[in-house]
Symmetry: C2
Subunit: 353 residues, 2 copies
């Protein structure tokens, strides 16, 4: 079968041929329809994040997938069922985090991540998975099912952010998303139903498809070159929620200044090893006197995938089409992994139903 993989020592993803996997006990065989590309894939390709599967000279990419159950094997899944796979797998036998159904809470050394860290991903004609890690999705998700995994990360992040504000009567009106990549835009769409006013920070010139999408969902575009994060309260308003999806470490600390009294910043980015000066005393005081919180969030588990399906179903019809700007065949791997400012979400299509 076809697969898109990075080989050891290489710095480019290639289309390769490899044997179709055989499902083991408790596993289903899934025929892949679509796989999304995101920033983490480029981090993996560049060797900055994750690692190859043990004993493999290559790593199949891809962790945002939708497919059809081809062989249910000994599982309860129905053949033909549309499914989205979760990302984390136990390294050997299941540990406490997997037993509790919360693999997203496991430390990095107690889980593998398919397509990212120590396990092959989903950019192939077929993949196998334990049924417990395959989330059934409605038939209408054939095209947009690749958005379930990224949206599930937002579901988890917002669940943890809200939990951190649940000990009092949280008044929330305004939210700021840092980052206009696909995850930022998905989150911005998600926040429309919960916040009166939403803002999205980027550093692009008009005309730009992300700015168009930001304004089409009803949000305000904030150009970080004109308005740094720390200036947002005076230029716009202080924010009850800040969602960081840039992976730019200064944003994690600047978030404290962007927050309204009793606000929460939820951090999802994975920056490099930057060191810098902070006004630590003032930030510490602002956290305390402002009853503010910073909450880190990574990955997601099955209930977040289910919540993501409901969220995506409730978004306007045009949204998925506007977000997924580019669809490529697997043979067009070089084009698919090139970068262009005209693109928002790029997808590789392995097949259709």
């Amino acid at each position: 079968m076809r697969a898109i993989a990075v080989e050891r020592g290489d710095s480019q993803p290639r289309l390769i041929e490899k044997p179709r996997p055989e499902p083991g006990p408790g596993e289903a065989l899934v025929r892949t329809l679509r796989v999304g590309i995101d920033g983490t894939d480029f981090e993996v390709i560049d060797g900055n994040h994750g690692g190859f599967p043990a004993d493999s000279d290559h790593q199949v990419l891809g962790h945002e997938a939708v497919g059809v159950v081809e062989a249910s094997n000994d599982t309860d899944l129905e053949e033909g069922q549309l499914v989205v796979p979760t990302v984390r797998r136990p390294p050997n036998t299941a540990n406490e985090y997997f037993r509790r159904g919360e693999p997203d809470m496991a430390p990095p050394d107690q889980c593998l991540e398919r397509g990212i860290d120590g396990a092959h991903g989903y950019m192939a004609d077929y993949f196998t998975s334990p049924a417990a890690f395959l989330v059934p999705v409605p038939a209408a998700f054939e095209a947009t099912g690749i958005l379930v995994e990224p949206m599930s990360n937002t579901e988890k992040a917002l669940e943890h952010a809200s939990a951190s504000r649940s000990a009092f009567d949280w008044q929330r009106d305004a939210a700021l998303v840092l980052g206009n990549g696909p995850l930022g835009l998905l989150t911005l769409a998600r926040l429309q139903s919960e916040f009166d006013r939403t803002y999205c920070l980027g550093r692009r010139d008009r005309p730009d498809p992300t700015i168009d999408l930001i304004e089409r969902v009803g949000a305000t575009y904030v150009d970080s070159r004109e308005t740094p994060v720390t200036d947002v309260p005076t230029a716009y308003e202080p924010m009850d929620l800040v969602y960081e999806a840039t992976g730019y470490a200064k944003h994690a600390f600047d978030t404290i200044d962007a927050l309204e009294q009793n606000g929460v910043g939820v951090l999802l980015g994975l920056p490099g090893d930057d060191a810098f000066d902070v006004e630590g005393g003032r930030l510490h005081r602002s956290l305390v006197q402002g009853n503010k919180a910073l909450v880190g969030s990574v990955n997601s588990h099955v209930t977040h995938f289910e919540a993501a399906c409901e969220t995506l179903s409730a978004l306007p019809d045009w949204f998925g089409d506007a977000l997924v700007t580019d669809v490529f065949e697997p043979a067009a791997v070089d084009d698919a992994f090139s970068r262009s400012p005209d693109r928002i979400k790029t997808v590789i299509e392995f097949g259709s139903r």
Copy 2:
């Protein structure tokens, strides 16, 4: 009546005479029994925190008080009832935070703080207060009622910290308190029932009464000169909860390193304007991949005072006596506000029942 106050332009608290206050509508007159001294009082004396009441040439100190209702006036309180007053008051008419019963969530410019910021405190023979801000406490609290206010801050901080961990199955075994002042020690005693292993950071040499108390409650003393906060995970273990009560800004950031996967750091200190270098990228990543949270917390409201009463009632009998090391008459104001390493909690006693 007698009162302990700082006069404008002075840098020492003095015993003064001033008229006994008259309760207004909805207010009771309280006869003060005891008032505790804490670090905030010294900040106020030094002019580093809070401010004088408008139109007053002096500020009566004290925000940790216990007293007896002397005149219930038109309130529902019973004369002779032991009460502890809360700290925050509305600046003029009640704003939304006071209407919701959550004055602790108000921004600094939407509240006064008795004895601290813009309102006279409780270090006087009598004080008046709206009944809604007087929390009835059991008669047994005559001596230790001054601990209700500081413990209420811990009740709120731990409520917010736990809330931030309520979206998953939080496994908590180990807790670290940063700071061996009275608030840190109260918190350490409070944490014994919820954590298997507790630690308290200080910078004192043995023999020392705070180290004795740390060990008597069953916790481990961590000398920050030998083991900086960032080394705690290797020297001892990573912490599920870190409670910061030092007001040292680096500790707020070092807390991220001290936390276990999925842990929470709750910050209560009010540092000065220190600026310093941080390994921002690494700390940001640690928050995200570790699902860690930092939660700021200030002040407390009536339900936290009620919870503090229950907590204090459940502590061992010896604890209050061991914590309150020094009791002075109001006339001994100079002695009361001098500092000594042999002291833990100093109290000024205005009267008895």
